[in-house]
Symmetry: D4
Subunit: 229 residues, 8 copies
């Protein structure tokens, strides 16, 4: 731990920027914008942007984007994914490998896009198959070839959260299940989908927090890229 | 209500036998044996047996069966379904219609058998397809013809409770979903499956209490038999 | 499943329209408007409207209705039921059979109307009895003849959710219980009513999700129409 | 509070006997036997018995009874109610007033008996109506005269806990609702009945803890006896 | 029940007015305004006002009040209690008996006032002691004489809900405990106080729903007035 | 208790001011502003300000501050901590002892500031270390000397709430853990952090309510100041 | 951290004994016996006993004690506290300071004794006041002098968990509240008491896990001993 | 799907053996022994053993083992991991890559061993570091080299479940977090640890069901072996 303490990080008063993280974990710190002011967000982006090939901000509003864009004009705004991104260096993507991102319904798409944009920013190729829930199996099977060819799969579903179980039983690659808060009544803001996914009867399925598209995209990239991470 | 009060029922001290029920609801009272002594159970069976074509006891142990058999030698013991049954008159079953009873796993079979024996006792034909959970879709599709031909379906599943969603999306007939307490950890004794089924994205799916095979079998018979009930 | 994949569906980018569904399940896809923009809703209505006798949109706001009406002037707005409907072909309703829709209180009426309009759109006749909760039994018994004559019953209640138990004990036809989020404090947004209905001591009662009027109306129509669905 | 401190109580080491309670609250301390050894129970009975017209022990096993009977031969054992009682002085009961104790099912009887024996010990007359749950309304209405004539009602129910709502809507006297842990699955050990009763739509209904027959019987006696308490 | 069905009630379309209730239960129906439009509320008040000595509306906003006052100028608006009241006939209050209404904190006062105004409307005298929570016992003991003299007590508390336990241990008259949603974090909108009150170690304490001041005031009046109700 | 009743307190109608508290507990009553109007808050401040060296109001908005400042111009507004404070007499702080206040993330700072300002107002010295969560241990170890030297530690964390476990394993002084509602999905408004902290495997860690910075700061001051309180 | 890694600890295969802990935290590791075999427990005691003035094992059965006593004959068995203790060196206790340990009921005593024996083993003097719950305030006030003189208080209560609120409002020293699993029904194994204590309206009260007597005793000793720890 | 239906599986009556699974998913079906009789388990082992290089049974008792060993003498019994295994063909393990399996405490070891033996059976090398919880960070850092070198990490913890957050912040490889039911009180059978892990603030951490060592070991092997699976 001695060497850890000697490493550079910057104290912005309200946040301690961890420049060491790229070295230690292979990817720079990601900015969780929710609960931060646009000004704080812009300041963190500016600091991180000086040393990293990209900066990623999740749970961002257009206000966050505008504040960042004012200091870093290269900033992009992915509205559906609620992501602000600054990409300074082109990412080398291995096009022969890809992550499949699936959703059960259309309302799950924002969470899926958070996963997809995250993985793409980190350097992964992503293939999408949206609105392929289990109540219409033929929609899922239509995309069978794409699904079977993926290195890793992110499966996003609200309500009963059944899609990861079906997909997990079809493929031989790791599935990251993402419960969403889509639903009403006894979905209890995603609890139903979360519990269902934790009890998944298929092997090879793991779970992240409700609506945590970022975490799933990050993890899928880790797996898909293997040693390269 | 005036006429209701005039109708016969018998007071055994610990229970009030409702002889009027067959007239009113088309089926005699069913005995929930759990929490009753073998002696109480036998006494209720004896009373009900005098006026009804059959008597059905659910959640029964072998002790309950033995006590019933001592007074009603025709009693049958369905161990897996935990049902004691006395069948005095042959039931006229319409063989052209049937209820499909499905389970996701082998551990769900006792609940499914409770549903199946109940429906058969009431006069329905039942077809079974067990261990056809969503993690191995081909096992389910193997039974496609049987499933598509059913008048009503009882779909029994623990853990993530996903099977009713898949079945509900395939068939055009009513599905009664039965969550079971099969599972561990975050299944919370069937809560995960229950919530999943209540949030089922397929139309035409309704839910009964955890492990309530009897309720599902009874309801499926109501639907399948239509006016005959 | 091979033939399923060959069947037509349309990809609108944000949604995959399942034209096969009418063939497979006897009713066209229903649009869950909540979480969709008015524009998306209108586009889906337009697509579905070209091939189906009717299109039904639930959980709709007046904005959804206006967007749909702009492209399909025949659109109707059922405000209380929060339903947008386009009915292109008159539905042949068998007037001798009907579904009874009951509510415990006045606040449960929107959910009941969602059930009623859904069943009527699908072709069922519906009889209503609202504000007949168990704390005033005579209000319920006043409607006894109507209740006893129904092919299926949808019973909607919030708070303690006791009405399905009482109704289920009176009738010999299937009861679909709908818990609502009506109440406060320990109703926990409908949880109390949901649990009560799942524990219903009467036989012949099944449950759908909290506030799921659509699901109950759809299921009741399935039962009431029997083979005709 | 000064005078309170001067009042007698005895320290048995493991318990502080509150002899002042009869004066302060009109009834001597009641012994909750669960979690106490038979020996501790007997010692407390002996101490309380010296100064009070009666001693009541709830949640008692036969071991508790035997230990008490060894020191106080007048001890009675109410097995179903799980009550040990020593009644030294005949209680003057006003026979013109009574408490009605009702249960929904037969499995609720032990809790109801705890309430009934408690109220009787305190000096109330009790009328019982067991197994009169809402799924068979005629069983309840059969006892209408008795129910309407009671000064207070204790209504005991497990599962969906609907009986207090129906009774509360019929009578003009106070109803004490007692949820029981009778049920399975989504009854969650009485939670379903508890929540239902708390959400009771009838006025004049209050609730005690799950299985708390003693508390209900005690409270009903308080009401029924009015100033005499 | 026959006679019940012959009794008058009026159907306003959205509500069924129960004129029989005063006869059956000794008090006219109370209007729960929440979820009703001002117009609906006014219509119900008008109908009830024609036959009853008073009309009480709870959970009312100033909009409800204004609509009622437009048709019934005698309407009063109790802002803190959120009650609209029309009092046509002076109530004969027995001034020698009273109900004590206590709160633990100042934030609990609106719920307490709902209880107090309800009881006063029904004809009870009410004495108030607010902000007398257990963390400052001397504030409670200051009011000892008033508390000991009450026929019945309504004890209102949020947060840890401890006040009913302390009061229940001091007095010999019935205590109705009202949990409130006052608090934050692990109060879970009143759940903490509700559970505490249900587990009250003092005898003679019963519980109503979270924030249900009306129910507590109604019940306290029932007890306090005895046969007169 | 006799002397307690004789002690002065003032009744403002909506609140009973406890002037005795400083004597009894060593610190004057603190004003919980949430749920109080600005006017009520100002009145309480004015009353308390006459007899106490300082007055502290928590969960205050700028409206509360403005109302207080209108009557007590010395009022200070700590926006992040949501605290209004009037400090009449300089506090004698022992500079050789201090409380360490730590947060896991930047979003936890408002709760931490509530703790810090509270402790400082009471007379403690506070050292802060913010954004030192367990996912970047080196940020925590960077502050090791400060952390080891504290008399007591307040450790504030949302999400998984792991920081108190790590800190508790490092130091030999008491740790007060404060869960915050920071997080989303399965954080369930701070429940996850609360449960984690209650299950802390390190000795010497206690817990307060979710977001209860005041309680932690007050308790830490009690410990840090020892007999001086 | 470098020096930490160089410090001695021993690997017993199933456990890593932390000899460094005494230096780092002022007290040796405590053995949580539950889930360990008697043999494992004895081996850990033997290893710890060689280097520490005492060894403490909590949640121990008599089997654990016997195994420890076989290798360390000085072992003591505190049955009620479920503690095995080996005390090699007399502890220097400052007799002028003490910790008060209170319980609400007799069933809470085992948890209280775990706290008391723990604190005594660490070197604190402990005064006990058991069965002084809030339903009989005079029992608590009887012990006022002892309670007011304590350096720190451990307050143990199950059921509604109200005692810490009352005690916290009386004293000016820190209160550690310990919820217990004593109770039934809606106590939900201590959840009711836990929530109540977390919502305690008195300042100066903190909470530990349900039944965690050890944690409370350890923390109270930390506070009571101040710098000496 | 057509070809899937043509593939061989065997129906044992109580279970449908999926011989196709090895082809489809790269690993044969695993037997979940809990809830199966020893005889059923042995029959499934025999059937699977004829076509697969190994058979793995989890949650097995010694009875399960004995029944399997009677028909397959090569069966091994891993008591701590509760695994029965038959290994017919030596597994080719790439010794340069390994999975790290960590536990926070000694009581977590059975779950960790289930993960470890599973991964080893599938062909992975496993390194273990047990009892390295966050309350003694030096124990974790002692194993830093091993931890940093792993291809994937399985981190097992009960109680507050904090270890995955700390480990996830240190390493750059995927972490599979396994909550265990180790703990008491507010651990609620592993719920506390589960929620903590789902809210993990470190990137690169995913979660499986409570006590699901098998799922974690299987998933870690999938990742570690990459294309070879």
């Amino acid at each position: 731990m001695e060497q850890l303490r000697a490493l550079p990080f910057e104290d912005l008063g309200f946040a301690r920027i961890d420049h060491h993280r790229t070295l230690r974990q292979g990817a720079p710190e990601v900015v969780f914008c929710q609960g931060k002011t646009p000004e704080q967000t812009a300041a963190i982006f500016e600091t991180l942007g000086q040393r990293n090939p990209y900066v990623l901000g999740t749970r961002a509003t257009s206000q966050h984007y505008e504040a960042v864009a004012a200091v870093l004009p290269a900033a992009e705004w992915h509205e559906q994914a609620r992501i602000v991104r600054v990409l300074r260096t082109p990412v080398n993507t291995d096009r022969s490998r890809y992550i499949a991102v699936l959703t059960a319904g259309t309302s799950d798409i924002p969470v899926a896009e958070e996963a997809a944009i995250t993985a793409e920013t980190l350097g992964s190729r992503v293939e999408r198959a949206y609105d392929v829930g289990v109540a219409g199996l033929h929609r899922l099977l239509e995309r069978k070839e794409m699904i079977f060819g993926a290195q890793a799969l992110v499966v996003v579903a609200g309500m009963e959260g059944a899609l990861p179980s079906v997909v997990g039983g079809l493929v031989r690659r790791p599935v990251i299940a993402v419960p969403t808060s889509v639903g009403y009544g006894a979905s209890f803001d995603g609890l139903a989908a979360l519990l269902a996914m934790l009890n998944c009867c298929a092997s090879g399925v793991v779970v992240v927090n409700i609506d945590n598209g970022f975490g799933a995209g990050y993890f899928a990239h880790m797996i898909s890229n293997g040693e390269q991470l």
